[in-house]
Symmetry: C2
Subunit: 393 residues, 2 copies
């Protein structure tokens, strides 16, 4: 049994943040009904390479969902949506602020017809405040939220995360907001509204940056791959790629000196503690660079493991997919897709012993489940035909 079995989600989201949230609900058993614009659908369906109206991008984050089409800009579309909402547990959107009201499907409206409903909104900057009507891509929230300024090297441009951090933090936090609301509803019968913004979500991830800035009046700055108070800690170029070596624990420093052939540094006052090392980190890093450059990451990993020194290989995606740890954790799953054939995607990282999640199906075609879902709320074949003729579905 999956923990969200029996839960029906009306999914008004597209692109990445919202779909990433509802993907996790689907992995854990919710019936996620994706409601898409007739003929067009989720914008990511068009991201190349498209096969049968589906892109790989769309496919990997809409796995296990159902799809219906419905034009919410029409009165008929809104009427059908409200009928669906009577049967739903959760409604999720990632519109800009104000769009739900425009479509007459905001929480106040929904709760009149279904008091137990849980309504959830995810947007760039949230549904109130001076920026509420501004749309945002993940990178914008990463910039306004303070993360981008912290990523990269001191004397260079800020750098965006290699993934869509703004979408991701907000999307995952919304999953827990929804689950908390479900838990509360199970105990009390009460539904509620949830609002999250990507900018707020990013801001919450800045660790001690906020408290320290409040205490000192000074914002922390970018420092590449180095550590603010100790050294060495950096990313080094090995023979076959990059790796990370650090000595956050002082005993590791002495081990590292021996490993890189600088045993004399152990008693050198220049390297007497983390603070000294920090002042001399260019010299230390140069020596480590010299030592790693003609060894493979695997060779270095073995030496570091033997000497208990903090280490990591920087792996590219193919290398992670083939890594024994990834395999042991079943983090790459294979799914049959009618358009693409066998495809690989991420597995489920939250491993629950009694109610495990799983990836059971690929992503739906546009409107693939329209008839099934509409029949379920009592629409006749004639109703559906008329809606098609009027381009409502």
């Amino acid at each position: 049994m999956k923990p969200l079995e029996g839960i029906r989600v009306l999914d008004l989201t597209q692109a990445y943040s919202g779909p990433f949230c509802t993907m996790q609900l689907a992995d854990f058993g919710a019936e996620v009904i994706k409601i898409e614009q007739p003929e067009i659908g989720d914008i990511t369906r068009a991201w190349l390479p498209v096969v049968d109206g589906k892109s790989p991008y769309f496919t990997c984050i809409n796995r296990g969902k159902k799809s219906i089409t419905l034009d919410l800009r029409t009165e008929k579309g809104q009427e059908v949506f409200l009928k669906l909402a009577e049967t739903a547990d959760i409604v999720v959107d990632n519109y800009r602020g104000g769009i739900r009201e425009k479509y007459n499907i905001d929480y106040e409206k929904l709760k009149k017809i279904n008091p137990k409903i849980i309504s959830a909104s995810l947007s760039g900057y949230g549904n109130w405040g001076p920026m509420k009507k501004i749309g945002a891509f993940a990178q914008m929230a990463e910039a306004y939220g303070g993360l981008m300024n912290l990523t990269g090297f001191t004397d260079q441009s800020p750098v965006k995360s290699g993934n869509s951090a703004g979408d991701l933090y907000a999307g995952i936090m919304l999953v827990y907001g929804i689950c908390m609301a479900l838990y509360h509803r199970e105990k009390t019968g009460e539904g509620q509204n949830i609002d999250i913004s990507m900018m707020d979500a990013v801001f919450q991830t800045l660790e001690a940056g906020i408290i320290n800035t409040g205490l000192t009046g000074k914002s922390p700055q970018r420092m590449g791959n180095r550590h603010p108070s100790g050294g060495p800690y950096n990313c080094f170029k090995a023979k076959d790629g990059w790796c990370v070596i650090g000595t956050p624990v002082w005993a590791q420093w002495h081990s590292l000196c021996r490993v890189i052939g600088k045993e004399e540094w152990i008693d050198d006052p220049k390297f007497a503690n983390h603070k000294c090392n920090k002042q001399n980190e260019d010299e230390i890093d140069a020596q480590i660079n010299e030592w790693v450059k003609d060894k493979t990451r695997q060779e270095i990993e073995e030496i570091m493991a033997e000497n208990k020194i903090t280490f990591a290989q920087v792996l590219d995606i193919k290398e992670v997919m083939e890594h024994p740890q990834t395999k042991a954790r079943e983090m790459v799953v294979e799914v049959d897709d009618p358009s693409f054939g066998k495809i690989k995607m991420q597995g489920v990282p939250v491993k629950m012993s009694l109610t495990p999640g799983s990836v059971d199906a690929s992503a739906p075609g546009l409107g693939q489940h329209s008839e099934e879902i509409f029949a379920g709320i009592g629409l006749s074949e004639k109703d559906i035909r008329e809606m098609k003729e009027n381009k409502v579905v």
Copy 2:
């Protein structure tokens, strides 16, 4: 009312990933009892500047929790822990694999004395697989999980995220795992075990990278702040700091040409579509750089808003803290701390209408709640005194 009121969490975590998870449980009303090593406590208590045995770092992620000390390496400590576990709903740890078994407090043991208990473990690489016994800092998981290789510029070193992404993704996902388990338990009475690794959590955030690598056999590479398939999209240096300008929507490109004084580019076949622009993005970016360099970010923001072009200011933490949107969303809260006085920290990003979270108290002193909690499980003053003498608490 908060959604997790009445839920007792035994919190065996330290540093960042685990405490960030349980911080969110505390914000939403759970009684989080932090169990710390006598005399030493959470390692981050010692991170400078320390005031009264508390660091700002420790303070901001342990807000609203209780603290007791207990040496789990001793038999007596384990015995007391099991007594506590009889009264608990959730146990969370972020040990390396195998430590819970060593302390005789693994899930199999706990469920015998409390079948409804939810047990949750967070570690670098998870509790099974060849890497299960290896400890990890966030950056290691970011490297092994494939994210670090994607962050940074093509011809330079990979870059770690400006926050502790490995800790964060796993910590937040574990919050939803715990809430799903609570929801399931509320319906069925059944507890269970949850396991998550930072490497798996990071891997799940790589969007379409996995499906595309599976289809093409080629891993995506770093591309700084640029977009893989369209342009322009980059980070530019304005008069008073950095900003992001992009034209993911084609109509925005024509607006941008007018704004930067290059109206002639609109009909130039060199810039006929996103693909052409991608080939000529150095030339485009140079022109934008020229245009932004003598304007402030605020001036540019206004021009871009008027012309509906995707834009963001890259804000440092102080700027985000003072931003009107941050204020409207109450994302900076002020808390009274007995050691530091008034301190500022992040608010609650998941805005629930009926059961909102809030930050109600600062972080506890080491062992501040020992007597209250131990008395609650029937230990006498004499018992506690003896435990103190034997350094069990």
